[in-house]
Symmetry: C2
């Protein structure tokens, strides 16, 4: 089974592709889509087009998307939401199954501690996928999101969009 | 020139299609896409698929999207943002020019008063497009958004995504 993990953002959208075969996880690809500059519709198109290209190239069966940080500033939240909408559109356009995980769920699945720090997540991604080098922060987050889904998450195929809650302006 | 106006929302996305020929505006079609129930990715797909169908059917050259209400609740803002992202994706996927207008700009363009009430906007939409009956609230908002673009807005083809500001939790 091939999983595409996505860490959506308007400026940088991280992606990571892994294969799951039995209990083994294999790294396939990762990187980020950068959209700095330009007007919003243009930037959403960049996210949509680039993720579509990645989906066409790697043909994942499942897509695992991180629940984005809810910024205190409603303008930023709206912009993030739109970027996230574009990322999910790229997946559903291709009739892929979409699962959603909060940062807490991802950290729990990858590090075993929902409150792990960013570099701990990054280190565990490197270890779990036997990487030679460390992927960029956004790619690592996307890979962690894919690993969370591979390791069961809330049950494969189940779309978990509800039930999250807010704590100090973040989704948990 | 044919314009598709969109009033995006996660539950109800209003749409309205009008033709502009010289100074004349003609009503073509309007309605709403309802997505009540179901998980988020499914609902975003409904918005994307339905708007794509409308674009395929009516072949507009321009798309005019209302700047959505910024809810005080960040969860709702995030959901709205995602719905809006899906609506803009439907437009940019089809390589259409996207313009964005705030509610204030739309009311100014349609009623001549940025602080006009909803029923005043609806009444002016009926008058300006010589309609026999009153369209639904969301369809009327979408038609108003299309009229705003037809009447110049911020200049055809110009994408106005910046420069808005917040007032009591609303975009103005």
């Amino acid at each position: 089974m091939r999983i595409l993990g996505i860490d959506p953002g308007l400026c940088i959208t991280g992606f990571g592709v892994i294969d799951k075969s039995g209990g083994n996880l294999t790294y396939v690809s990762s990187g980020s889509v950068k959209t700095s500059g330009g007007e919003l519709p243009f930037r959403l198109k960049l996210i949509l087009d680039n993720l579509t290209e990645i989906i066409t190239l790697y043909r994942p069966q499942h897509v695992s998307v991180e629940q984005v940080f809810v910024n205190i500033n409603p303008k930023s939240t709206l912009l993030l939401g739109q970027a996230r909408g574009a990322a999910i559109c790229a997946a559903v356009m291709n009739n892929l199954i979409v699962a959603e995980y909060t940062a807490l769920q991802i950290k729990q699945a990858v590090v075993g501690n929902g409150h792990a720090k960013k570099d701990q997540v990054q280190e565990m991604v490197v270890r779990l996928l036997n990487l030679n080098g460390s992927p960029g922060a956004d790619a690592a987050d996307a890979l962690a999101c894919a690993i969370c889904h591979a390791n069961g998450g809330l049950g494969l195929g189940r779309i978990a969009t509800t039930g999250y809650r807010m704590k100090r302006g973040r989704l948990v």
